[in-house]
Protein backbone atom coordinates (compact mmCIF):
# COMPACT_ATOMS: atom_id res chain seq x y z
CA UNK A 1 0.00 0.00 0.00
CA UNK A 2 2.77 2.41 1.02
CA UNK A 3 4.84 1.41 -1.98
CA UNK A 4 1.88 2.02 -4.28
CA UNK A 5 1.34 5.47 -2.77
CA UNK A 6 5.00 6.38 -3.21
CA UNK A 7 4.90 5.19 -6.82
CA UNK A 8 1.76 7.23 -7.39
CA UNK A 9 3.37 10.34 -5.95
CA UNK A 10 6.63 9.92 -7.82
CA UNK A 11 4.90 9.02 -11.08
CA UNK A 12 5.51 5.86 -13.09
CA UNK A 13 5.97 5.01 -16.76
CA UNK A 14 5.30 1.76 -18.61
CA UNK A 15 7.84 1.33 -21.37
CA UNK A 16 8.26 -1.14 -24.19
CA UNK A 17 11.83 -2.19 -24.91
CA UNK A 18 12.68 -3.68 -28.31
CA UNK A 19 16.05 -5.27 -28.77
CA UNK A 20 17.63 -8.38 -30.20
CA UNK A 21 18.58 -9.34 -26.65
CA UNK A 22 15.83 -7.81 -24.49
CA UNK A 23 17.21 -9.39 -21.29
CA UNK A 24 20.21 -7.11 -21.70
CA UNK A 25 17.87 -4.19 -21.00
CA UNK A 26 17.01 -5.75 -17.66
CA UNK A 27 20.65 -6.37 -16.83
CA UNK A 28 21.36 -2.78 -17.75
CA UNK A 29 18.62 -1.62 -15.42
CA UNK A 30 20.01 -3.64 -12.52
CA UNK A 31 23.55 -2.44 -13.24
CA UNK A 32 22.47 1.23 -13.29
CA UNK A 33 20.27 0.87 -10.22
CA UNK A 34 17.05 1.48 -12.15
CA UNK A 35 14.16 -0.05 -10.28
CA UNK A 36 11.50 -1.74 -12.40
CA UNK A 37 8.37 -3.82 -11.80
CA UNK A 38 5.42 -5.50 -13.58
CA UNK A 39 7.67 -7.05 -16.17
CA UNK A 40 5.89 -8.63 -19.14
CA UNK A 41 7.49 -10.71 -21.82
CA UNK A 42 5.87 -9.71 -25.11
CA UNK A 43 7.94 -11.75 -27.52
CA UNK A 44 11.42 -12.92 -28.36
CA UNK A 45 12.65 -9.39 -28.84
CA UNK A 46 10.18 -7.34 -26.86
CA UNK A 47 9.34 -6.77 -23.25
CA UNK A 48 7.56 -4.11 -21.27
CA UNK A 49 7.92 -3.01 -17.71
CA UNK A 50 7.21 -0.13 -15.38
CA UNK A 51 9.74 2.23 -13.89
CA UNK A 52 9.62 5.50 -12.03
CA UNK A 53 9.39 8.75 -13.98
CA UNK A 54 12.80 9.93 -12.79
CA UNK A 55 14.57 6.84 -14.17
CA UNK A 56 13.21 7.15 -17.71
CA UNK A 57 15.97 9.46 -18.92
CA UNK A 58 18.67 7.20 -17.47
CA UNK A 59 17.08 4.18 -19.18
CA UNK A 60 16.89 5.91 -22.57
CA UNK A 61 20.50 6.98 -22.24
CA UNK A 62 21.60 3.46 -21.29
CA UNK A 63 19.49 1.81 -24.00
CA UNK A 64 21.21 3.85 -26.71
CA UNK A 65 24.43 2.02 -25.91
CA UNK A 66 22.99 -1.46 -26.64
CA UNK A 67 20.81 -0.42 -29.55
CA UNK A 68 17.51 -1.01 -27.77
CA UNK A 69 14.48 1.04 -28.61
CA UNK A 70 12.46 2.41 -25.70
CA UNK A 71 8.85 3.49 -26.25
CA UNK A 72 6.62 4.98 -23.57
CA UNK A 73 3.31 3.08 -23.48
CA UNK A 74 1.50 4.62 -20.54
CA UNK A 75 2.10 7.23 -17.84
CA UNK A 76 0.54 7.41 -14.38
CA UNK A 77 0.96 9.30 -11.13
CA UNK A 78 0.77 12.76 -9.63
CA UNK A 79 3.49 14.53 -11.71
CA UNK A 80 1.76 13.56 -14.98
CA UNK A 81 -1.64 14.49 -13.56
CA UNK A 82 -0.47 17.97 -12.58
CA UNK A 83 1.46 18.42 -15.80
CA UNK A 84 -1.89 18.39 -17.61
CA UNK A 85 -2.80 21.65 -15.89
CA UNK A 86 0.40 23.41 -16.90
CA UNK A 87 -1.36 25.59 -19.45
CA UNK A 88 -4.62 26.10 -17.59
CA UNK A 89 -3.75 29.50 -16.20
CA UNK A 90 -7.14 30.26 -14.63
CA UNK A 91 -6.98 27.04 -12.65
CA UNK A 92 -3.43 27.76 -11.55
CA UNK A 93 -4.45 31.27 -10.55
CA UNK A 94 -7.44 29.89 -8.59
CA UNK A 95 -5.23 27.36 -6.82
CA UNK A 96 -2.67 30.01 -5.98
CA UNK A 97 -5.42 32.33 -4.73
CA UNK A 98 -6.88 29.53 -2.61
CA UNK A 99 -3.48 28.77 -1.14
CA UNK A 100 -2.87 32.45 -0.47
CA UNK A 101 -6.25 32.78 1.27
CA UNK A 102 -5.48 29.74 3.37
CA UNK A 103 -2.15 31.22 4.43
CA UNK A 104 -3.82 34.57 5.12
CA UNK A 105 -6.56 32.80 7.03
CA UNK A 106 -4.02 31.26 9.38
CA UNK A 107 -3.07 34.73 10.65
CA UNK A 108 -6.53 35.30 12.13
CA UNK A 109 -8.40 33.77 15.03
CA UNK A 110 -11.44 31.79 13.94
CA UNK A 111 -12.00 29.51 16.87
CA UNK A 112 -11.62 29.52 20.65
CA UNK A 113 -11.00 26.76 23.14
CA UNK A 114 -11.33 27.65 26.80
CA UNK A 115 -9.91 25.27 29.39
CA UNK A 116 -9.52 25.34 33.15
CA UNK A 117 -12.85 26.93 34.04
CA UNK A 118 -15.34 25.11 36.24
CA UNK A 119 -17.54 27.76 37.78
CA UNK A 120 -17.00 30.69 35.42
CA UNK A 121 -18.95 30.06 32.20
CA UNK A 122 -17.02 29.95 28.93
CA UNK A 123 -19.37 32.57 27.48
CA UNK A 124 -18.44 35.04 30.23
CA UNK A 125 -14.73 34.60 29.51
CA UNK A 126 -15.25 34.97 25.77
CA UNK A 127 -17.40 38.07 26.30
CA UNK A 128 -14.69 39.64 28.46
CA UNK A 129 -12.10 38.84 25.80
CA UNK A 130 -14.36 40.30 23.15
CA UNK A 131 -14.65 43.53 25.15
CA UNK A 132 -10.87 43.71 25.04
CA UNK A 133 -10.80 43.23 21.28
CA UNK A 134 -10.04 39.52 21.05
CA UNK A 135 -12.76 37.81 19.07
CA UNK A 136 -13.34 35.86 15.88
CA UNK A 137 -11.55 37.56 13.03
CA UNK A 138 -8.92 39.27 15.21
CA UNK A 139 -5.42 39.38 13.76
CA UNK A 140 -3.51 36.79 15.78
CA UNK A 141 -0.44 38.96 16.30
CA UNK A 142 -2.25 42.16 17.22
CA UNK A 143 -2.18 41.55 20.98
CA UNK A 144 0.06 40.23 23.72
CA UNK A 145 -1.18 37.51 26.02
CA UNK A 146 0.12 39.37 29.09
CA UNK A 147 -1.70 42.59 28.16
CA UNK A 148 -4.95 40.72 27.64
CA UNK A 149 -4.46 38.95 30.97
CA UNK A 150 -3.91 42.29 32.73
CA UNK A 151 -7.00 43.85 31.18
CA UNK A 152 -9.39 40.90 31.50
CA UNK A 153 -8.60 39.79 35.06
CA UNK A 154 -9.97 42.95 36.73
CA UNK A 155 -13.29 42.27 34.97
CA UNK A 156 -13.46 38.63 36.02
CA UNK A 157 -12.95 38.51 39.76
CA UNK A 158 -13.29 34.75 39.92
CA UNK A 159 -10.20 34.21 37.77
CA UNK A 160 -6.65 34.57 39.02
CA UNK A 161 -4.77 33.80 35.80
CA UNK A 162 -5.51 33.81 32.10
CA UNK A 163 -3.40 33.14 29.02
CA UNK A 164 -4.26 33.31 25.35
CA UNK A 165 -2.09 31.19 23.06
CA UNK A 166 -2.75 31.27 19.36
CA UNK A 167 -1.84 28.20 17.33
CA UNK A 168 -2.90 28.26 13.71
CA UNK A 169 -6.28 29.94 13.59
CA UNK A 170 -7.36 28.70 16.98
CA UNK A 171 -6.92 30.61 20.24
CA UNK A 172 -6.40 28.44 23.29
CA UNK A 173 -7.57 30.31 26.37
CA UNK A 174 -6.28 28.79 29.59
CA UNK A 175 -7.64 30.07 32.87
CA UNK A 176 -7.18 29.36 36.56
CA UNK A 177 -10.04 30.08 38.88
CA UNK A 178 -9.55 31.87 42.16
CA UNK A 179 -9.91 29.62 45.19
CA UNK A 180 -11.80 31.58 47.82
CA UNK A 181 -10.80 31.00 51.45
CA UNK A 182 -13.54 29.22 53.39
CA UNK A 183 -15.66 31.33 55.68
CA UNK A 184 -14.31 31.05 59.21
CA UNK A 185 -16.82 30.25 61.88
CA UNK A 186 -16.27 32.10 65.13
CA UNK A 187 -16.77 29.31 67.62
CA UNK A 188 -16.65 31.64 70.59
CA UNK A 189 -19.14 34.26 69.34
CA UNK A 190 -22.22 34.18 71.60
CA UNK A 191 -25.28 32.84 69.81
CA UNK A 192 -28.78 31.64 70.59
CA UNK A 193 -30.59 28.86 68.80
CA UNK A 194 -34.15 29.87 67.87
CA UNK A 195 -36.93 28.09 66.03
CA UNK A 196 -36.90 28.67 62.29
CA UNK A 197 -40.45 27.27 62.04
CA UNK A 198 -43.30 26.54 64.38
CA UNK A 199 -43.60 22.89 65.44
CA UNK A 200 -43.77 20.22 68.11
CA UNK A 201 -40.30 19.48 69.51
CA UNK A 202 -39.35 15.80 69.40
CA UNK A 203 -35.63 15.87 70.18
CA UNK A 204 -33.22 18.48 71.62
CA UNK A 205 -29.47 18.08 71.36
CA UNK A 206 -27.69 21.06 72.93
CA UNK A 207 -23.95 21.01 72.28
CA UNK A 208 -23.25 24.34 73.96
CA UNK A 209 -25.65 26.60 75.80
CA UNK A 210 -28.68 25.83 77.89
CA UNK A 211 -31.81 23.96 76.76
CA UNK A 212 -34.92 26.11 76.92
CA UNK A 213 -37.41 23.55 75.61
CA UNK A 214 -38.06 19.86 76.20
CA UNK A 215 -39.41 17.19 73.83
CA UNK A 216 -43.19 17.55 73.59
CA UNK A 217 -43.12 21.35 73.75
CA UNK A 218 -44.92 23.33 71.05
CA UNK A 219 -42.82 26.20 69.79
CA UNK A 220 -43.56 29.25 67.69
CA UNK A 221 -41.36 30.64 64.96
CA UNK A 222 -38.51 32.64 66.50
CA UNK A 223 -38.91 31.11 69.97
CA UNK A 224 -35.68 30.59 71.96
CA UNK A 225 -34.68 26.90 71.95
CA UNK A 226 -31.07 26.85 73.22
CA UNK A 227 -29.88 29.93 75.10
CA UNK A 228 -26.36 31.28 74.76
CA UNK A 229 -26.74 33.48 77.87
CA UNK A 230 -26.29 31.45 81.04
CA UNK A 231 -26.75 32.88 84.46
CA UNK A 232 -24.01 30.89 86.26
CA UNK A 233 -24.67 32.15 89.76
CA UNK A 234 -28.42 31.81 89.74
CA UNK A 235 -30.54 33.55 92.32
CA UNK A 236 -28.29 32.38 95.13
CA UNK A 237 -25.19 34.22 93.89
CA UNK A 238 -26.39 37.22 91.91
CA UNK A 239 -22.96 38.87 92.01
CA UNK A 240 -21.42 36.24 89.65
CA UNK A 241 -21.35 37.55 86.07
CA UNK A 242 -23.56 36.12 83.37
CA UNK A 243 -21.73 33.87 80.91
CA UNK A 244 -22.13 34.19 77.17
CA UNK A 245 -21.83 30.93 75.28
CA UNK A 246 -21.97 29.96 71.69
CA UNK A 247 -25.34 28.27 71.71
CA UNK A 248 -25.07 25.29 69.40
CA UNK A 249 -27.19 22.28 68.86
CA UNK A 250 -29.98 20.67 66.92
CA UNK A 251 -33.65 20.76 67.71
CA UNK A 252 -35.86 18.33 65.81
CA UNK A 253 -39.54 18.96 65.61
CA UNK A 254 -42.68 17.87 63.84
CA UNK A 255 -43.90 20.52 61.44
CA UNK A 256 -47.05 20.85 59.37
CA UNK A 257 -47.33 22.26 55.90
CA UNK A 258 -50.28 23.16 53.73
CA UNK A 259 -49.30 24.02 50.20
CA UNK A 260 -51.63 24.84 47.32
CA UNK A 261 -51.35 25.26 43.60
CA UNK A 262 -53.87 26.06 40.89
CA UNK A 263 -53.72 23.86 37.80
CA UNK A 264 -55.68 25.10 34.74
CA UNK A 265 -58.06 22.52 33.34
CA UNK A 266 -57.76 23.90 29.83
CA UNK A 267 -54.50 25.04 28.32
CA UNK A 268 -52.99 26.04 24.99
CA UNK A 269 -50.92 23.47 23.15
CA UNK A 270 -48.74 23.75 20.06
CA UNK A 271 -49.96 21.76 17.08
CA UNK A 272 -47.52 21.62 14.21
CA UNK A 273 -49.15 22.05 10.82
CA UNK A 274 -46.68 19.67 9.19
CA UNK A 275 -45.28 22.30 6.87
CA UNK A 276 -41.55 22.87 7.02
CA UNK A 277 -39.50 25.70 5.57
CA UNK A 278 -35.78 26.15 5.45
CA UNK A 279 -33.53 29.16 5.37
CA UNK A 280 -29.79 29.11 4.84
CA UNK A 281 -27.02 31.48 5.79
CA UNK A 282 -23.26 31.64 5.66
CA UNK A 283 -21.49 32.94 8.75
CA UNK A 284 -18.14 34.47 7.94
CA UNK A 285 -16.50 35.47 11.19
CA UNK A 286 -18.98 37.95 12.65
CA UNK A 287 -20.78 38.53 9.34
CA UNK A 288 -23.97 36.70 8.37
CA UNK A 289 -24.97 36.32 4.74
CA UNK A 290 -28.47 35.03 4.14
CA UNK A 291 -28.99 32.74 1.20
CA UNK A 292 -32.33 32.15 -0.46
CA UNK A 293 -35.50 33.28 1.36
CA UNK A 294 -35.50 36.67 3.03
CA UNK A 295 -35.17 36.54 6.79
CA UNK A 296 -38.16 37.05 9.05
CA UNK A 297 -40.75 37.07 6.26
CA UNK A 298 -40.23 33.36 5.76
CA UNK A 299 -42.71 32.51 8.50
CA UNK A 300 -45.83 34.66 8.79
CA UNK A 301 -47.64 32.72 11.48
CA UNK A 302 -46.32 31.39 14.80
CA UNK A 303 -43.49 29.02 14.25
CA UNK A 304 -40.59 27.35 15.96
CA UNK A 305 -37.18 28.18 14.56
CA UNK A 306 -34.42 25.58 14.81
CA UNK A 307 -30.90 26.67 13.93
CA UNK A 308 -28.34 24.10 12.94
CA UNK A 309 -24.80 25.40 12.52
CA UNK A 310 -22.07 23.37 10.86
CA UNK A 311 -18.55 24.85 11.01
CA UNK A 312 -16.56 24.07 7.90
CA UNK A 313 -13.12 22.62 8.10
CA UNK A 314 -10.47 21.40 5.72
CA UNK A 315 -10.47 17.59 5.86
CA UNK A 316 -11.53 17.87 9.50
CA UNK A 317 -8.10 19.19 10.47
CA UNK A 318 -8.00 22.93 9.82
CA UNK A 319 -11.08 24.86 10.90
CA UNK A 320 -12.22 27.46 8.39
CA UNK A 321 -13.82 30.77 9.36
CA UNK A 322 -17.02 29.79 7.57
CA UNK A 323 -20.05 28.26 9.22
CA UNK A 324 -23.04 26.94 7.33
CA UNK A 325 -26.30 27.70 9.07
CA UNK A 326 -29.55 25.93 8.32
CA UNK A 327 -32.71 27.34 9.83
CA UNK A 328 -35.76 25.14 9.99
CA UNK A 329 -39.13 26.83 10.49
CA UNK A 330 -41.92 24.68 11.87
CA UNK A 331 -45.23 26.59 11.77
CA UNK A 332 -47.74 25.70 14.47
CA UNK A 333 -51.21 26.62 15.62
CA UNK A 334 -52.28 26.87 19.22
CA UNK A 335 -55.06 24.48 20.14
CA UNK A 336 -57.05 24.59 23.33
CA UNK A 337 -56.76 21.24 25.15
CA UNK A 338 -58.74 20.09 28.15
CA UNK A 339 -57.14 17.88 30.76
CA UNK A 340 -59.07 15.61 33.13
CA UNK A 341 -59.28 16.23 36.85
CA UNK A 342 -57.06 13.21 37.58
CA UNK A 343 -54.37 14.51 35.23
CA UNK A 344 -54.52 17.97 36.76
CA UNK A 345 -54.32 16.49 40.26
CA UNK A 346 -51.24 14.44 39.32
CA UNK A 347 -49.52 17.51 37.92
CA UNK A 348 -50.41 19.56 41.00
CA UNK A 349 -49.21 16.80 43.34
CA UNK A 350 -45.87 16.61 41.54
CA UNK A 351 -45.38 20.37 41.76
CA UNK A 352 -46.30 20.47 45.45
CA UNK A 353 -44.09 17.49 46.33
CA UNK A 354 -41.12 19.20 44.69
CA UNK A 355 -41.96 22.41 46.56
CA UNK A 356 -42.18 20.54 49.86
CA UNK A 357 -38.87 18.76 49.25
CA UNK A 358 -37.24 22.15 48.62
CA UNK A 359 -38.68 23.54 51.86
CA UNK A 360 -37.56 20.55 53.94
CA UNK A 361 -34.03 20.39 52.64
CA UNK A 362 -31.95 17.24 52.71
CA UNK A 363 -32.34 16.53 56.47
CA UNK A 364 -36.12 16.71 56.68
CA UNK A 365 -38.48 13.82 56.07
CA UNK A 366 -42.19 13.49 55.38
CA UNK A 367 -44.13 11.46 57.93
CA UNK A 368 -47.50 11.63 56.22
CA UNK A 369 -49.13 13.60 53.44
CA UNK A 370 -52.55 14.04 51.95
CA UNK A 371 -53.65 15.50 48.65
CA UNK A 372 -57.01 17.22 48.25
CA UNK A 373 -58.42 19.00 45.23
CA UNK A 374 -61.39 21.18 44.38
CA UNK A 375 -62.56 22.61 41.08
CA UNK A 376 -62.71 26.37 41.16
CA UNK A 377 -63.96 27.79 37.88
CA UNK A 378 -61.63 26.67 35.11
CA UNK A 379 -58.88 25.61 37.49
CA UNK A 380 -58.27 22.81 39.93
CA UNK A 381 -57.00 23.87 43.33
CA UNK A 382 -54.69 21.12 44.58
CA UNK A 383 -53.76 21.23 48.26
CA UNK A 384 -51.04 19.20 49.93
CA UNK A 385 -51.19 18.72 53.69
CA UNK A 386 -48.07 17.14 55.10
CA UNK A 387 -46.68 16.27 58.50
CA UNK A 388 -42.91 16.29 58.54
CA UNK A 389 -39.98 16.01 60.84
CA UNK A 390 -37.07 18.37 60.47
CA UNK A 391 -34.37 20.27 62.25
CA UNK A 392 -35.80 23.69 63.12
CA UNK A 393 -32.94 25.18 65.16
CA UNK A 394 -31.31 28.28 63.69
CA UNK A 395 -28.32 30.04 65.20
CA UNK A 396 -28.78 33.76 65.83
CA UNK A 397 -25.91 35.94 67.11
CA UNK A 398 -26.37 37.77 70.40
CA UNK A 399 -25.55 41.47 70.38
CA UNK A 400 -23.28 41.95 73.40
CA UNK A 401 -22.55 45.45 74.60
CA UNK A 402 -18.84 45.44 75.55
CA UNK A 403 -19.21 48.52 77.76
Amino acid sequence: MLKKTVKLLRGSVRVRAQSVYPERVLNLCSARGIEFWDLEWLGASELSFCLSRGDLRALRHAAEGIGAEITVERTAGAPFFFARFRRRYALLFGGALCGMLLVLNSFFIWDFEVTGNETVPTETILRALRDQGVHRGTFAYSFKSQDICNRVLPELNDLCWLAVNVRGCKAYVQVRERVRPPETVNESAPTNVVAAKAGLVTKVRALDGEKQVLPGTSVREGQLLIAGVVDTGGTESPSVATRFLAGKGEVWARTWYELSVRVPLTYEKKSYTGAEKHGYALLWGEKRVKIGAKGSSICHSDCDKIKNQTPWSLFGLVSLPVTWEKETYLPYETVSVTRTRAEAETIGAEVLSAQLAALLGKDGSVISERIASAVQGNTLLVTLSAECEEQIGREVPIAVDEG
Binding site: P22, C29, S30, A31, G33, F36, L39, W41, L47
Partner: protein, 84 residues
Protein backbone atom coordinates in the same frame (compact mmCIF):
# COMPACT_ATOMS: atom_id res chain seq x y z
CA UNK B 1 38.83 -20.75 -3.67
CA UNK B 2 35.64 -22.57 -2.94
CA UNK B 3 37.52 -25.50 -1.44
CA UNK B 4 39.68 -23.17 0.61
CA UNK B 5 36.56 -21.51 1.99
CA UNK B 6 35.11 -24.91 2.86
CA UNK B 7 38.38 -26.02 4.44
CA UNK B 8 38.54 -22.98 6.70
CA UNK B 9 34.79 -23.12 7.34
CA UNK B 10 34.30 -19.62 5.91
CA UNK B 11 31.10 -18.42 4.18
CA UNK B 12 31.62 -19.37 0.55
CA UNK B 13 29.26 -16.73 -0.82
CA UNK B 14 31.49 -13.97 0.62
CA UNK B 15 34.94 -15.55 0.22
CA UNK B 16 34.51 -17.38 -3.09
CA UNK B 17 31.81 -15.10 -4.56
CA UNK B 18 29.26 -17.87 -4.93
CA UNK B 19 25.65 -16.92 -5.30
CA UNK B 20 23.27 -17.25 -2.38
CA UNK B 21 19.92 -18.88 -3.11
CA UNK B 22 16.80 -18.85 -1.00
CA UNK B 23 13.36 -20.26 -1.78
CA UNK B 24 9.99 -19.63 -0.27
CA UNK B 25 8.12 -22.87 -0.95
CA UNK B 26 7.47 -23.10 -4.67
CA UNK B 27 6.29 -19.47 -4.94
CA UNK B 28 9.41 -17.32 -4.68
CA UNK B 29 13.09 -17.54 -5.37
CA UNK B 30 15.64 -15.07 -4.12
CA UNK B 31 19.12 -15.01 -5.60
CA UNK B 32 21.93 -12.86 -4.30
CA UNK B 33 25.17 -12.27 -6.17
CA UNK B 34 23.94 -12.88 -9.71
CA UNK B 35 25.58 -11.78 -12.95
CA UNK B 36 22.48 -10.77 -14.91
CA UNK B 37 19.53 -12.32 -16.72
CA UNK B 38 20.42 -14.48 -19.67
CA UNK B 39 16.96 -15.35 -20.89
CA UNK B 40 13.52 -14.55 -19.71
CA UNK B 41 10.12 -16.13 -20.19
CA UNK B 42 7.02 -17.04 -18.22
CA UNK B 43 8.06 -20.71 -18.16
CA UNK B 44 11.84 -20.44 -17.91
CA UNK B 45 14.30 -17.87 -16.61
CA UNK B 46 18.07 -18.26 -16.92
CA UNK B 47 20.24 -16.28 -14.55
CA UNK B 48 23.99 -15.91 -14.73
CA UNK B 49 25.30 -17.31 -11.42
CA UNK B 50 29.04 -16.96 -11.88
CA UNK B 51 30.58 -20.08 -13.46
CA UNK B 52 27.14 -21.73 -13.76
CA UNK B 53 23.75 -20.83 -15.14
CA UNK B 54 20.81 -21.08 -12.80
CA UNK B 55 17.73 -22.20 -14.68
CA UNK B 56 14.33 -21.72 -13.06
CA UNK B 57 11.43 -23.56 -14.67
CA UNK B 58 7.75 -23.24 -13.83
CA UNK B 59 4.49 -21.50 -14.73
CA UNK B 60 3.68 -17.75 -14.78
CA UNK B 61 7.18 -16.84 -13.77
CA UNK B 62 7.81 -13.13 -13.29
CA UNK B 63 10.76 -11.05 -12.30
CA UNK B 64 9.45 -9.42 -9.16
CA UNK B 65 12.43 -7.17 -8.51
CA UNK B 66 15.99 -6.91 -9.67
CA UNK B 67 19.02 -4.93 -8.60
CA UNK B 68 22.68 -5.29 -9.50
CA UNK B 69 23.14 -7.77 -6.60
CA UNK B 70 19.77 -9.41 -6.10
CA UNK B 71 17.00 -10.90 -8.17
CA UNK B 72 13.61 -12.10 -6.94
CA UNK B 73 11.53 -14.43 -9.10
CA UNK B 74 7.95 -15.33 -8.29
CA UNK B 75 5.39 -17.67 -9.82
CA UNK B 76 4.85 -21.42 -9.63
CA UNK B 77 8.37 -22.85 -9.55
CA UNK B 78 8.62 -26.44 -10.75
CA UNK B 79 12.39 -26.88 -10.94
CA UNK B 80 15.65 -25.12 -10.21
CA UNK B 81 18.72 -26.49 -11.89
CA UNK B 82 22.31 -25.58 -12.62
CA UNK B 83 23.48 -25.71 -16.21
CA UNK B 84 27.20 -26.20 -16.53
Amino acid sequence: MTRAAEFFDLPADIVAGLCHLEMLGDRQLFLEGHGGILSYGTEQIDVNAGPLILRVRGQDLTLRSMTDAEVRISGRIDAVEYVR
